[in-house]
């Protein structure tokens, strides 16, 4: 037997080895004094480290990576301001149940609480926007903590997990058990569906003549797409989807009524207000889809499947709730329900589709809707679409139909401006063979556009569709409609020359402002795959998004067209 001593490794090396063992291929981040040992350990690793230009960008990239794969994305930041720059990304991931692990360097344990250089209470400041978090004080805890962090981030209802790593812990010699198992006495296993409640659901469904299935992010996470399809086709029920669930059920399917909510399709919202039963499969009845809770489907039976018991009766009190994984519960429910007599209901909804289709009116100059619709037609929707937040996000949701899961990346719950472009970068790293669009507005794009450098250096063929109306358009729309058009703090006149800006980063750029030139310009952009390209679309300034349900109103108060 060899008498060679066991290999000595540091805490930082344990972290990197754990990442390797957990199957991590990409880490997005930024170095600093407190995470130097981690970068030193990464030097010897095959993990692709992506140097971003800002920690917020790193976190959104890891989030986009998670959204496009369903597996945890990983971001790495240093202590103090490096870590605080990840907070927006953590909130974004927490609100949308995205698997994300953020590793942060921290000052040495002996300096904690002494206002050391670049010290911040990262554990404390991230508490409200994480699923769980760790401040690791003992190097020998690292293998277990890393295992737990990834398990928690990706299982049950996913979410972000922070692991704060003091520098002395990163440097300390590891003498613990590298195979240490998770120790989570408070871990809640995903509950199994209650058979009696499923039977109750089946009974209520069988009495329905105007049912509506509402699929949400929970259906996406659990991989319930096929189960939803089989169920909807069997019982012949129409399906509406939330913003985040675009792609769980194909939006081109005859039973789909598309997205519901504040800027959903007129026919989806009419279905909501007229259905006799609404069945949420992994949607938490967010206020942007439910509008006024007191007036939400007052006469309809409400059914709800959710994996998170805390979502039960939170804002809506359904008639029956099953706490379980969406796919498993739906598969169990499937044999219990037969085809429903929904012919008349489906015909009514088809009538609404004919009478109130999504439409935009050509006007003077270029319309953002035309650009998005053209992107959809040219790719036949076979692309990953990331969006920022605002008017362009809603138009993208309306006109870029999504048929595949994990192909629509948009900040829903948090509504984070600056999310779209870095999320598209993360998605392109995860899915190098896919066409990836970043639909962004001129407001949000300027919050994280420094990541043009990241995209350019890695020659990522992300197509940045910049819809520039020189306004913070959604806020302007609200001021126009609800504040007597007293426009305040929304004018972005004086925007930079975006083409010159992109070119300064070495990014190919196109500009278009005439409707008849959109198709050719987009074809050129789609054919360019030597790196990122930016299509600067100078669109009409004062266009509004319709249909619209004003905040706090009911679905029957939907505004279909400008008055």
């Amino acid at each position: 037997m060899s008498n060679q001593p066991a290999e000595k490794i540091t805490g930082a090396q344990v972290v990197v080895r754990s990442l390797e063992q957990l199957g991590v291929n990409h880490v997005f981040g930024y170095p600093g004094g407190a995470n130097l040992p981690l970068f030193d350990a990464l030097y010897d690793s095959d993990i692709n480290f992506i140097l971003t230009r800002h920690e917020q960008g790193a976190t959104h990239m890891a989030d986009g990576y998670g959204r496009a794969t369903g597996k945890p994305g990983v971001a790495l930041a240093t202590s103090g301001p490096g870590a605080s720059n990840t907070v927006t990304g953590l909130l974004t991931a927490a609100m949308d149940s995205i698997p994300l692990v953020v590793l942060t360097g921290q000052v040495p344990t002996a300096m904690l609480g002494k206002d050391a250089f670049q010290e911040a209470d990262v554990f404390g400041m991230t508490l409200p926007c994480v699923k769980h978090s760790y401040l690791v004080r003992d190097v020998n805890d690292l293998p277990r903590v890393m295992r737990e962090a990834f398990h928690l981030a990706g299982s049950g209802r996913p979410g972000p997990v922070v692991v704060d790593l003091p520098k002395d812990v990163q440097l300390a010699a590891f003498v613990g058990d590298p195979d240490a198992e998770m120790r989570l006495p408070g871990l809640k296993q995903a509950p199994k569906a209650d058979a009696a409640k499923l039977a109750e659901m089946a009974h209520l469904l069988s009495c329905s003549r105007k049912p509506l299935l509402l699929v949400g992010q929970g259906a996406m996470i659990s991989g319930a797409g096929e189960a939803v399809m089989k169920f909807a086709e069997k019982i012949q029920a129409p399906v509406t989807n939330t913003l985040l669930a675009k792609g769980v059920f194909p939006e081109t399917h005859p039973l789909s009524v598309g997205m519901l909510g504040m800027h959903g399709t007129a026919y989806a919202n009419k279905a909501v207000s007229e259905c006799d039963l609404i069945f949420s499969i992994g949607s938490r009845w967010d206020d942007r889809i439910a509008g006024n809770y007191a007036k939400f489907c007052p006469d309809a039976v409400k059914l709800h499947i959710d994996i998170d018991p805390a979502e039960v009766d939170k804002v809506i009190k359904p008639d029956v709730t099953v706490v379980a994984d969406a796919r498993e519960a739906l598969e169990q429910l499937h044999p219990m329900v037969n085809q429903l007599a929904t012919c008349a209901w489906l015909a009514t909804l088809d009538g609404y589709k004919r009478d109130h289709p999504l439409s935009w009116q050509p006007g003077e100059g270029l319309q953002a809707q035309q650009v998005i619709e053209e992107c959809y037609k040219l790719t036949e929707g076979k692309a990953v679409a990331a969006t920022d937040v605002g008017q362009h996000q809603m138009w993208a949701a309306q006109y870029f139909l999504t048929d595949e899961p994990f192909s629509w990346l948009s900040s829903g719950g948090a509504g984070t401006m600056g999310f779209g472009f870095p999320a598209a970068i993360g998605a392109q790293f995860a899915r190098p063979d896919s066409t990836v669009f970043a639909f962004v507005g001129d407001g949000g794009f300027q919050m994280t556009l420094c990541e043009l450098a990241t995209a350019a250096i890695h020659k990522l063929p992300v197509k940045i569709i910049l819809l520039d109306n020189s306004y913070l358009g959604m806020v302007r729309q609200w001021q126009e409609l609800f504040h007597d058009n007293r426009l305040s703090g929304v004018d972005l006149t004086g925007n930079p020359d975006f083409v010159a800006l992109a070119e300064a980063y070495g990014v190919k750029a196109f500009q278009v402002s005439e409707p008849e030139k959109v198709t050719d310009t987009l074809k050129e952009a789609l054919a360019y795959n030597d790196g990122p390209c930016l299509v600067h679309c100078k669109v009409q300034r004062a266009e509004n998004v319709y249909p619209m349900i004003p905040a706090g109103a009911s679905h029957s108060e939907m505004i279909l067209q400008p008055t």
Binding site: F123, G124, H132, P185, G186
Partner: protein, 97 residues
């Protein structure tokens, strides 16, 4: 409205902070709290009385149970006896002693 509950916690650093955060965000106050170790385990028993709206109590229990470090939440639905608040005069007397 006062509510009491027993909790079983995995006694990890910050667990009280997480609990306080759940309460504060939803407008509840912690009126009293006791913690003691459970023999033969790493777990802690906590008994807590909180004050806040009746309507949200069920949601508070669910949100607390959702915390990774919270193993169990057992709400006590019986009316809770809350000691009379100490008056300013009594406080002054106690302080003088």
């Amino acid at each position: 409205m006062h509510h009491s509950m027993h909790l079983v916690l995995d006694h990890q650093p910050g667990v009280q902070l997480r609990i306080a955060m759940i309460l504060t965000r939803r407008g509840y106050y912690m009126e009293s709290m006791n913690m003691f170790p459970m023999a033969g385990s790493d777990l802690q028993r906590m008994t807590m009385t909180i004050r806040g709206p009746e309507a949200g109590f069920d949601q508070i229990c669910k949100q607390l149970h959702k915390l990774v470090d919270v193993v169990r939440v057992d709400p006590l639905f019986a009316e809770v006896e809350v000691p009379e608040p100490v008056s300013r005069e009594e406080f002054e007397v106690e302080r003088a002693v």
